[in-house]
Symmetry: C2
Subunit: 336 residues, 2 copies
Amino acid sequence: MAMSDGLQHAADKMSTSDSSPDAKPDHRAGVAAAIHALQGLIHRTPVMTSSSLDRLLGCHMLFKCEHLQRTGAFKFRGACNAVANLPQATASVCTHSSGNHGAALAAAATARGISAHIVMPDNAVPAKIQAVRAYGGQVHFCAANQHARETAFQNLIEQGHHAVPPYDDWRVIYGQATATIELLQHSSDLDMVLAPVGGGGLISGACLAVQYVQANVAVLAAEPEGAADAHASMQAGKRITELPVNTIADGLRATIGHRNFAVMQQHLQQVLLVNDEEILQATALVWRHMKQLIEPSCATVVAAIKRYPEVFAQQRVGILLSGGNVNVERLIQALV
Amino acid sequence: MAMSDGLQHAADKMSTSDSSPDAKPDHRAGVAAAIHALQGLIHRTPVMTSSSLDRLLGCHMLFKCEHLQRTGAFKFRGACNAVANLPQATASVCTHSSGNHGAALAAAATARGISAHIVMPDNAVPAKIQAVRAYGGQVHFCAANQHARETAFQNLIEQGHHAVPPYDDWRVIYGQATATIELLQHSSDLDMVLAPVGGGGLISGACLAVQYVQANVAVLAAEPEGAADAHASMQAGKRITELPVNTIADGLRATIGHRNFAVMQQHLQQVLLVNDEEILQATALVWRHMKQLIEPSCATVVAAIKRYPEVFAQQRVGILLSGGNVNVERLIQALV
């Protein structure tokens, strides 16, 4: 995997001094290097359309299908890019994740013969726990709160495992940016790009991608009302991290990251809030009309289009479908 | 959904050029004309692959995604071709269907300003009833037995509506053949083609397509043990129509048609039986690994590959994913 000296230098600096969002790394070079690093490792996912959903929702939607990415979510891009930029001789990586990033890091690390240790809350979706293990990751459970998660993560770091945070990491953000780069390459006439926001990895990547490829495209985020820290942070002009979290969108319960928020403040137009009922209705719309098994976190974007028609009317909207890791066993029971 | 000879006779009378399975129509010309007639009306559906499913099942599978066809099933092809070949000045069509053909005919007819009357059993899947109505079809409920269905269908024919049977009709068979034609055009090096069999529309179309495009490709069918009339008929060398029907695969409860069976006898290698538990497990496999919301009837093919590894080992298998019309409302409840 060829890597420019500059990027290697940047990556080295990140691994040792990646602690500050003020380091002003070269984002453009980072995204360009990620595109290169991920070639042949990731799927170039398809872009789908649905004329029936377009009719129902009154705009033209182009769906970038990251639920069809390896490990079932866009997270594989960031994890792969982080693993491609590890310091020499790294033997093991660790992270904390409600699921999709954990599975992605496990898969990316295992493919390079590196072991992966994943902190997961003990209320994580069973399918996501199974996925982490299936991809070769070692699961370390913790209580389902931020403090327990951070403590467990810190323990793994102190044991010598290299940390790959799920979103507040430039290597990860650059990897996620490649999804939007591909979408813009596929569809050069978008009016806006819309993505869900949890910790902010996907949306900050979208912001950087749009800025470098097609700066006139607006970037918007969709967020559950039950995890509205990105919305609150954008309103306040500073990170708000102490909000209660209660939403069915398990992939979006994370708190917005430092680096992610810094990028969002510069490029994000707005955060649109949706409630869980709207998220479930939107999930049903995509399942019924597109036959794509997306997860509720992913459906927030369609819920936002349905709730705020005035924002999207007649627009060409590029949508990042973030993932499709649902509890299939439970769904299958509902067929019987 | 067996069509008795009496009912068959009634349907035959409706179209003069389609009068008898013994009439030796020019199948090659019929399929060629269908390809032409359907251009611009149907989706050319994608062909997907899954390296993880390939690893699990020990062969290379190329999935022709007819669950992404308009109306969510391959049935739209046959319905469109039938509507394209209606006698001049036909004002209305009718059929009987547990769902997918009904929706397809409603959509195909409505698009041409023709009204569509659909006989459905009163235990049909609610989502399929809603779909028929959403596409502009008029639903006529009957009791869930063969006699009631035939009587209701006969009544509609006597009221002057042109009959478009769900599968035992050359126009319909030629339309379904185009799915396999596209699959063979996409993948010229298949060893075999595998499709589910209910009434036999899709599989007989596959037989004709393979015969005309690439005759060295084997054609196999997958069928539920709880609706095993195609298997029994192939064994007996004649149509067996009196078997009890009990399977979760609601789209495959039909009895094999006359024309369909005649084609199958010439070209079909074998019918592979699978039980409902295997069908559900296969549905889960496709949902989990491909994120494609296929219906259980459609999953019979994957169930067959899992149950009969000796038939498929290391083969390149073209698979017709027939449809994705499941009860989404009920599935969504399982998320909460």
